[in-house]
């Protein structure tokens, strides 16, 4: 499949592309924003308890904690 070189497109080509694209997008079925917001909230709520960056983690469960013990050989 040929690579489309945007630099080679004339303004007319670009205008035609834009109209074709808009004709596709105008047909989209759009869900109600209220429903979408609820879904975002529900999704967050379902996972937030496991979200370490929000809830934190006990030091002994933290895989990134400083490795203690042992000795440094220099």
């Amino acid at each position: 499949m040929p690579v489309i070189n945007v630099d080679d497109l004339t303004d007319l080509d670009k205008a035609k592309m834009e109209v074709t694209q808009l004709k596709t997008e105008v047909k989209l079925e759009r869900a109600k924003v209220s429903k979408c917001c609820e879904e975002v909230m529900e999704y967050i709520q379902s996972l937030v308890e496991e979200d370490t960056l929000v809830k934190g983690i006990a030091e002994d469960k933290n895989p990134f904690k400083d490795l203690k013990g042992g000795c440094v050989i220099s």
Partner: protein
């Protein structure tokens, strides 16, 4: 009426119809929906590890799916694969071209990829028989710089380019399968959701686009940013997209209602966003900025709930590990001053080393 004028009028009319259709479903706003939700408590992340080893600006990093390894790319001409738990370098891969702008880890862990001003995407096999990491493929067809790449599998990768297009490649044959054209400005970044059926791209035409991988069509175009969209990521549920722009804001766009739900901005923030990543649940959005900081946003309340300061130069990349346990930031800075945060969680920093390189 000339053809150009006709097309212009047709475009305007279609845009008006789309605006009206979006308005028709806008029966609520996110701020209203979450009005009774409390803001997340102040987030203070603690730097746990510093990954030192690069000798020049770090441009990109990407976590492996095992949430332990990650790959970083620097204009010192190296890709480094890190074990973030030990800070050991698992691989240090010398690149033919040092002008690298992006890197990616394959979901399988078998390969990494990178590219930049060489206009190519180079694929490296990490699991070669003799243990040496070699270039497996050089994917060349873009006529502009490679800004981002993401594997769909060991056999397919998507690239975005300064030539305004994105390409889907067959890695085995080294050829491009599909061209995604439509952006009118450099494509700056891309993101792939969990189901690998679509991807989103952000570009210098100020828009973000959602593409169907199989039929190559752009299904959604999101406008609203007033400058280049530099960074893009999927919201973890796959139904929304977060973007970061040179206009100093981040936005949350919902795919199903085809519109912006909220903007993350503050009058005190006047510099561009370079990188963006959601936390595991999506409640936090971490965004890297040109002013050397990472701002942490409460995604629902659109309030800043934390800052990661401590880099000495632009934060170029950010990534949250797949299990959500850690966030890694990469920067153009030369060294990391010692500092401490009180607190909970995990931040790793990739920074340039100003001392002797050791591998």
């Amino acid at each position: 009426m000339g053809e150009m004028e006709q097309l212009r009028k047709e475009a305007e009319s279609l845009k008006d119809q789309i605006t009206a259709a979006r308005k028709a479903v806008a029966d609520a706003t996110l701020p209203d929906t979450v009005s009774s939700t409390a803001v997340v408590g102040r987030v203070q992340l603690k730097t746990r590890k510093t990954l030192r080893g690069h000798l020049a600006k770090i441009y990109a990093m990407h976590w492996a799916t095992d949430a332990k390894l990650c790959v970083s790319a620097s204009q010192d001409g190296k890709l480094i694969v890190w074990d973030t738990l030990t800070t050991n370098k698992v691989n240090a891969i010398p690149l033919k071209s040092s002008w690298v702008m992006t890197c990616a880890y394959a979901p399988s862990g078998n390969m990494v990829a990178c590219g930049g001003l060489d206009n190519m995407c180079s694929i490296y096999n990490l699991k070669g028989k003799d243990g040496n990491v070699k270039v497996m493929r050089e994917l060349a067809a873009h006529t502009g710089y490679l800004s981002c790449c993401r594997f769909l599998s060991d056999s397919e990768i998507i690239t975005s380019s300064g030539d305004c297009t994105c390409l889907l490649w067959d890695i085995e044959t080294g050829t491009q399968k599909t061209t995604f054209a439509g952006h009118l400005g450099d494509c700056m970044s891309l993101a792939v959701p969990g189901d690998f059926k679509t991807f989103v791209s952000g570009a210098c035409d100020f828009t973000a686009k959602l593409w169907d991988i199989r039929d190559s069509n752009c299904t959604h175009t999101f406008s609203g940013h007033e400058s280049d969209v530099n960074a893009i990521a999927f919201f973890p549920n796959g139904n929304a997209v977060i973007t970061g722009s040179d206009d100093a804001t981040c936005k949350l766009f919902d795919l199903r209602s085809d519109q912006e739900l909220i903007t993350y901005q503050d009058s005190s923030i006047m510099c561009g966003v370079t990188s963006i990543a959601p936390s595991l649940s999506g409640r936090l959005i971490l965004a890297g900025y040109d002013d050397f900081n990472v701002n942490i946003w409460d995604s629902l309340k659109a309030e800043r709930v934390g800052v990661l300061a401590g880099h000495d130069n632009r934060v170029s990349c950010i990534g949250v590990s797949t299990d959500g346990m850690a966030c890694c930031t990469g920067s153009w800075d030369s060294f990391l001053p010692s500092f401490s945060f009180k607190g909970q969680d995990n931040v790793m920093r990739l920074c340039k080393q100003n001392k002797q390189q050791y591998l």
